[in-house]
């Protein structure tokens, strides 16, 4: 299988801090991995090293066991069989759609090439668009053609560099689904670089969160969302409610917090003082009842499918967010009780620096 | 919008491919003699046609400025293809002579011309002479001055045209330095600068006098004949006046020829014959009639009307091809701010 193995990648521009600082990443063959991180964290540098446009200072990149970049080895971009889909597609403006898609098919005879182009256009749902020029396409269509062009030579790996950035939100979901389907259909291994956590979580089989040139966490979208490695990752992949707590006696998977006793996903090892991390949808507004956590609603934001209420809780410095499905029962200023459902994650009280941005 | 330009580029490239063919036509037969000519094609072109006939070989001519061609010949050294150098003035021949680029001429050729008009080393010879004259506008000048010393007088303030970068003007200044000394010459130059208007060349001076922009001009005589040929004497207001004998302003300059070292035996033989031809009565007559210059070879005289006899002119007391004195002159001209 054409799995991607990145080991110990280091890259620095000039004497300042390294952009990549020992990045490791493994993507199994056929998987779609999202590399997620704030801008400037090094994810695009990583992508350009994998594609062969940059040489790493240290570390290695291998696809299907073949070392592409490594100590003493550097395979030219054109011999890597790694396709890229850049931001905004970057179609060749002087070539028709068909000739764009056929661009990577050198050495293939004409009939085979035409058939391949047809197949690729069908795959991305744009059959019959071959004779158009790129500027006659909409943004989403351009993006899909860019994918078809990258997939046409049957690369071992496809890299997508924030490909949906330039699309407006209405188009984005549709194009995203099409791209996912096309990648699945060809079975190509793919890496999607993005700073949009929703995009990463909804599109990828595997999400790697990058911070300061390293992988902070890598796992399935569910893993990363529900069991974040640390509060920073939790905050980056979604809204987080962070409250300090005290773990119950050793071995028990519960902790006492200002929101009451909270069940933990795993019993904490180490000090008993720490942070308890919840998602806003794990909190529920209730009628204020004695013995339960209480607070005052200060703000309500309505999103259509749900709403978010900000609640100042007695005994907590910072207010907490509560996701409310359906109508919000309390107006701003009103009293409310709060209940916790599901399990929380436990983190030692040391908060890693929030650099990289 | 991009297509026409891209297409025209292709057309240019196509033209580039056929251009060597164009340039190549007519050069199938190798030339027996290659001449570098600092004299204009219009002046000597038909004479060279006659030379070609007389030598019975193809003669190739590269025209250019005398100074530029002499610099080129110096760079080429022994590798030159040229057998003969025709120069507009003696200085360029002197430069080649000084660097040992000229072959000695046969004594028979040298002897046809007075020593004053040939190289001291016997490696170049003058072919034709031109004399410095004063051009004037008859409506503005009743009696033109007989001496260049007149033109620095206050009455001519702002009325004298001259061409300080012209080689003939500069050799006239060199001649004046020899005749009258550096101090007198410097004083005279300052006077001229105060009185005069500088022009790029003799023709421009001539035209300025003709249009009345200036009243007098220091020029070579044959430019007047060139202007007559271009416009007709009736159309022309300007007239020329020959200076008194022994006046430094009436210096004779020469155009000459030298043979180059480095030519093979065959070309050298042609070159020698060519020098003989250029000093022959036929060629000398050509200079007299066509370019209205003075023939320099003994036995031929010009019969252009109004041209004073050659013997009556100021003979240069200097070696015209001597560069060191030329350099001193240049330094003096720069010093007074003329060039």
């Amino acid at each position: 299988m054409t799995d991607l193995q990145i080991k110990g990648l280091v890259k620095a521009y000039g004497p300042e801090a390294a952009v990549l600082d020992g990045l490791d990443l493994t993507v199994p063959g056929g998987a779609l991995a999202a590399v997620l991180g704030p801008s400037g964290c090094g994810k695009t540098t990583m992508l350009r090293i994998v594609a062969g446009f940059l040489r790493p200072d240290a570390g290695s990149v291998a696809v299907g066991g073949r070392v592409l970049s490594g100590p003493g080895a550097h395979i030219a971009p054109e011999r890597r069989r790694v396709g890229i889909v850049p931001q905004e597609g970057a179609l060749f403006p002087h070539l028709s759609v068909a000739r764009n898609v056929a661009y990577g098919l050198s050495g293939v005879d004409r009939t085979a090439r035409r058939a391949r182009v047809e197949k690729m256009l069908e795959l991305v749902g744009l059959a019959g668009y071959g004779e158009r020029m790129p500027h006659e396409l909409s943004g989403g269509q351009q993006q899909r053609i860019a994918l078809a062009r990258a997939l046409a030579p049957e690369p071992q790996l496809v890299l997508l560099d924030e490909p949906f950035n330039a699309l407006d939100s209405a188009l984005r979901a549709g194009v995203r689904d099409d791209v996912r389907a096309a990648l699945r259909a060809t079975g190509a291994t793919a890496v999607l670089v993005t700073h949009d956590q929703q995009e990463a979580l909804s599109t990828a089989d595997l999400v790697a969160v990058v911070r300061d040139g390293r992988i902070a966490q890598c796992g399935t979208p569910e893993d990363v969302y529900h069991r974040p490695a640390d509060p920073w990752v939790a905050g980056f992949v979604g809204d987080a409610v962070l409250v300090s707590g005290t773990a119950d006696a050793a071995g028990a998977a519960t902790a006492a917090t200002a929101l009451g006793r909270v069940p933990l996903a795993a019993a904490p090892a180490g000090p008993r003082e720490g942070l308890v991390l919840l998602r806003p949808e794990q909190l529920r507004l209730t009628d204020a009842a004695p013995g339960e956590a209480c607070g005052t609603v200060t703000d309500v934001r309505f999103y259509g499918h749900d709403a978010m209420a900000t609640v100042t809780v007695e005994g907590l410095d910072a207010p907490v967010d509560v996701r409310v499905p359906g109508p919000v029962p309390v107006r701003p200023g009103g009293r409310t009780g709060i209940q916790v459902t599901g399990e929380a994650t436990w983190h030692p009280a040391v908060v890693p620096p929030r650099a990289c941005g | 919008m991009r297509r026409p330009l891209a297409r025209s580029l292709t057309a240019l490239a196509a033209a580039a491919l056929i251009s060597p063919l164009l340039a190549g036509c007519g050069s199938d037969e190798p030339a027996g003699l290659v001449i570098y000519s600092g004299r204009n094609e219009k002046l000597v072109g038909s004479l060279i046609d006659k030379l070609e006939e007389s030598l019975d070989t193809r003669v190739e001519v590269r025209y250019g400025g005398s100074a530029e061609l002499s610099a080129q010949l110096l760079e080429e050294g022994d590798a030159t293809e040229a057998g003969l150098f025709l120069s507009q003035d003696a200085g360029a021949l002197g430069a080649l002579s000084k660097e040992g680029r000229l072959a000695p001429l046969p004594q028979t050729a040298l002897e046809k011309v007075e020593p004053a008009y040939r190289g001291a080393a016997g490696d170049w010879v003058g072919l034709s002479g031109r004399v410095r004259v004063i051009a004037y506008h008859p409506d503005k000048v009743a009696t033109p001055p007989d001496s260049v010393h007149e033109v620095v007088k206050p009455e001519w303030k702002g009325k004298v045209g001259y061409a300080p970068t012209n080689a003939s003007f500069q050799s006239f200044v060199t001649g004046m330095r020899v005749l009258e000394g550096d101090d007198a010459t410097r004083t005279w130059l300052k006077g001229l600068k105060a009185n005069g208007k500088p022009y790029e060349n003799n023709l421009a001076v001539m035209d300025a006098v003709d249009s009345g922009e200036v009243s007098l001009g220091l020029v070579n005589h044959y430019y007047w004949y060139e202007r007559v040929a271009e416009k007709g004497e009736d159309e022309l207001d300007v007239r020329i006046h020959y200076l008194a004998k022994s006046d430094p302003g009436g210096l004779v300059n020469v155009a000459g020829v030298g043979m180059l070292k480095g030519a093979d035996a065959e070309q050298s033989a042609y070159a020698r014959k060519a020098v003989d031809f250029l000093l022959s009565a036929e060629s000398q007559r050509y200079f007299a009639d066509k370019t209205k210059e003075y023939p320099l070879a003994a036995g031929v005289t010009s019969d252009v009307k109004d041209l004073p006899p050659f013997e009556s002119l100021t003979k240069p007391e200097i070696d015209l091809g001597e560069l060191d004195s030329l350099k001193d002159t240049l330094a003096m001209l720069q010093d007074v701010g003329m060039v």
């Binding site: 403006p93 860019a146 | 330009l5 002046l43 360029a92 430069a95």
Partner: protein
């Protein structure tokens, strides 16, 4: 309107590349591929050949002699004159070039399209013809005034062309934002538009400056003592190549300083504009009461720069007796001129291509050095470059000597920067991400150059070729020394006829030269980037 260089349609203005992306691509210190580097170094080597010759000649009598020449008071005087003239002409060209570009591109000037073609035609007028015609009409102009006037009138299109192209590319939305923030039309132009034109104007200004430094035709006729004239005086009056070489070396130093200064003005702006082009054309600004003065300004410039020389030539033709020119010779000479200039333009463009691509795509000392090397010989007078090629050719390339290929090489040395600047600007317009994509699709660097970079930059490269073609046609001093013996171009023919005082006979050649050079100039004027 859609921009063919980016493929983004007008209804998607939001799709702007982040400046970061552009910066990252060029700053990454990627080494140029050998496919580019080897020919670029070859081109640079050819361009610095004259420097080797200068070193040999300047030092042949020892460094002390060369230093004496350079340390002379007169050298300082010539230097002052040259720099003063250069400053005046560059300033004049900036005023003419920028004002005409703005009028023709951004305002509702009546007949803007025609004007945009007409104002490029002065390129076709050789400086010596312009100077000659002006001097014959107004001898009082001789000196600084006349030199500055004629040089400005023949060289302002070097500024006009890149500035007009840049104006077409600027995003009108930025100007609208400025207006909405309370800045008037003039303030907006000065604070938003003008800074964006700076790289284009500086590039054009550099070409003008180097042209003025190297020009001999206009200053010799106008009798203004510049550095180049000093070099010629050394050849012509004292027949001495050593001081000429020492002075030329100073000229090279001035060139390097100018090129370095221009590189500095480029800043990051030029590189950041690698993303999308103009989303839509700007609304032409109404001229209102300024309509007539604007028309008058354009008309006056065109009349002085093109109309006047042509009218003078017509006058000569009418009054002279020597007007017995042979149409056959004129036609042959024209064909030879076209062929030679085309060969010169083709070779120069070919050599400039790798240099321009590297200059656009790579930063760092090596790339800068390469570009500076290409410019090094550009301010040298033609005679010096020609003698340098004589020097090398008779020693190392005897069979080429005084054959067409050597003359074509001389054109390449002389005009490499003209083509390289155009190529660089054109490549900058093509987003580098396209080249990355092409390589990831399995194409070699050479194939990427051939299938992506060159086709995208083609219109700009072709414009550079057309410009080179025009300057090759007008070239005189190097052509005189290096042409195959017996070959005549329009410029050499013109030199012959005027040298003999046959102005009427010269007029047809001058007119043919101007008219033929006007064709590519016309194409340049119509060209839109």
């Amino acid at each position: 309107m859609t921009d063919p260089t980016t493929g983004h349609s007008a209804d998607r203005p939001a799709a702007a590349a982040t400046p970061l992306a552009g910066r990252r691509r060029v700053a990454a210190g990627r080494r140029p591929s050998p496919v580019l580097l080897v020919p670029a170094c070859a081109a640079a080597l050819l361009a610095v050949l004259p420097l080797g010759y200068l070193a040999v000649r300047a030092l042949e009598r020892g460094p002390a002699y060369a230093w004496d020449v350079i340390a002379d008071d007169r050298t300082a005087l010539l230097l002052g004159h040259s720099l003063g003239l250069t400053a005046a002409v560059v300033l004049g060209c900036l005023v003419l070039g920028v004002s005409l570009a703005w009028l023709t591109v951004r305002t509702a000037l009546p007949g803007a399209r025609i004007w945009s073609v007409l104002v490029t035609l002065p390129l076709a007028v050789p400086s010596y013809v312009a100077a000659f015609t002006w001097l014959s009409a107004a001898p009082g102009l001789a000196g600084f005034t006349g030199s500055a006037l004629t040089l400005t009138l023949v060289s302002f299109p070097y500024v006009y062309l890149p500035v007009a192209a840049a104006l077409r590319r600027t995003d009108p939305a930025q100007e609208e934002v400025s207006r909405s923030l309370g800045h008037g039309r003039v303030r907006t132009f000065l604070r938003v538009t003008l800074p964006q034109l700076r790289p284009a104007a500086a590039g054009g200004g550099l070409l003008v400056a180097l042209y003025v430094l190297s020009d001999f035709g206009a200053v010799s006729l106008m009798r203004y003592d510049t550095f180049t004239r000093g070099i010629y005086t050394s050849y012509r009056a004292s027949f001495d190549r050593t001081p000429a070489a020492a002075l030329s070396a100073v000229l090279v130093l001035m060139t390097v300083a100018l090129v370095a200064a221009e590189t500095r003005t480029r800043g990051r702006a030029g590189h950041a504009r690698t993303g999308t082009g103009t989303a839509r054309p700007a609304e032409p600004a109404p001229l209102g009461r300024l309509r007539l003065p604007a028309l008058g300004w354009c008309g006056a410039v065109v009349a002085l720069a093109v109309g006047f020389p042509l009218a003078t030539l017509g006058y000569w033709l009418a009054v002279g007796n020597s007007a017995t020119w042979d149409p056959g010779t004129l036609a042959d000479t024209s064909l030879t001129t076209l062929g030679t200039a085309a060969a010169g333009a083709a070779l120069t463009t070919l050599l400039a291509l790798p240099v321009g691509v590297i200059a656009a795509r790579h930063r760092g000392r090596g790339a800068r050095l390469l570009e500076q090397a290409a410019y090094a010989g550009h301010a040298l007078p033609g005679i010096t470059v020609a003698l340098a090629l004589v020097f090398f050719a008779v020693r190392y390339a005897r069979p080429l000597y005084q054959e067409l290929p050597l003359l074509v090489c001389a054109y390449a040395v002389l005009f490499l920067p003209v083509a390289a600047a155009a190529t660089r600007a054109a490549v900058l317009q093509a987003p580098p991400v396209l080249e990355d994509v092409a390589r990831s699709l399995g194409r070699s660097p050479l194939a990427v150059l051939r299938t992506v970079t060159v086709p995208l930059a083609a219109p700009g490269v072709a414009a550079g070729a057309a410009l080179t073609f025009v300057v090759c046609m007008k070239e005189l001093p190097a052509t005189l020394l290096l042409r195959p013996t017996g070959m005549d171009t329009l410029a050499t023919r013109l030199w012959t006829e005027t040298g003999a005082g046959s102005f009427a006979a010269a007029a047809p050649y001058a007119a043919a030269l101007i008219l033929l050079a006007a064709v590519p100039s016309y194409l340049l004027g119509r060209h839109r980037t």
